[in-house]
Amino acid sequence: MSVLSRNQMAWRAAQDLPDGGVVNLGLGMPVLVSNYMPADRDIFLQSENGILGVGPEAEDGYEDRNLVDAGSRRITLRAGASIVDSASSFAMIRGGHIDVTILGAFEVAVNGDLANWDSRVPDKGPLVGGAMDLAAGAKSTWTLMQYNTRDGAPRLRHACSLPLTAPGCVKRVYTDIAVVEVRVGGFVATEIIPTISAEDLRARTGAPIAIAGDCRPLVAPMIEG
């Protein structure tokens, strides 16, 4: 088995979402998680522009430009959904009412520091959006990202080199080759794809990483696309 595709990574993260929970999915890859929610769990997706209960994307011809999520996707509402204004939505986020937020990430440090908002592209303006509030406010912050950069550099590091989103917030990291928990003692791999050895994983990590005693193979079903 090869590394996980983006959709497989999203599938994997979805499997850990708590039944009955409230979940906020960040822009980019995390939004894909919504496509793989376990059928036996009833989960409310929150979107920081004010939606509690985001449903599937609207079908062609049924879009409403005033019904969008934080990623500007034209979406629908699920049963039981409600809508509030932005200040109330972030009161919900900051107040600890979101069980899990899954965010994209550039880097995660061994102490849980997250860098996901500013990759320092020259002259491009900043875009922070709700990332800092989500990372600081959610009960659990998970990240979904490639294990390494395109250049092969580690994203799991001693310390973030890019500007922080929030200190010490990341609890778990889902990647294309491993699932990693950020514990008090540091990174602990709890799942690794079968084609990668522990040694390979260590070589691709920028800080010490332990292998959990009960570490399992990271596997995902075949998903198109």
Binding site: V68, A70, S72, R94, G125, A136, A166
Partner: protein, 225 residues
Amino acid sequence: MAIDKRVQSAADGIGPVKDGAVVMVSGFGGAGFANILQDTLLEIGPRDITLVANSATHPFSHTHKLVEAGLVAKVIVTAARGRGSDLSPFELLWRDGKIELECVPQGSFSERIRAGGAGIPAFFTPAGYGTDLCAGKEVREFNGRPHVLETAITGDLALIRGDCGDRYGNVSFRFTQMNFGHAMATACAHTVVEVREALDEAMPQEEVQLPGVYVNSVVAVGGEP
């Protein structure tokens, strides 16, 4: 005299705007952009305005017209990055030091505006602590966790988009059209709302999402729901 806040034109609603005014503009992700009011503001042409909006670069918001015309001395935003690698009008001016930027985490952004309308001059939040965006801000621990002190944002003029409005200035919003509209209306000395439809009868109380006390003028501009 019987209250009637409905006006015939956006220009009537906005009235004169002084140079250096702080102008708030609602809208998020294509929902609730007060574009007709922004076009009118462009014609009025005040100089050196401070623009408070979620994004300085959203392609669907006419904010970029105000920036491009050189009316804007400063933006307070959560996003200032144009799409793709080309530089947006904002980024070009910003690179050349011709426009000032204050980038704020979105939850702090909306709460600072709410605070501005609610007589709260400052509050503590965990969001942004330990990040570049909050460098230099006062830090204090509560419940063993560091928080930063954020101050209220108030404005001279709020430009809001709503769905329906009545003679008393009551406004309803469609789905996520509300976003920053409520908070901005409360935080500004003068608030104008462009609505799809101005109602002849008073809106039923349970449909009011922005009470008329916060609205100075309502202008019907039509458009799809």
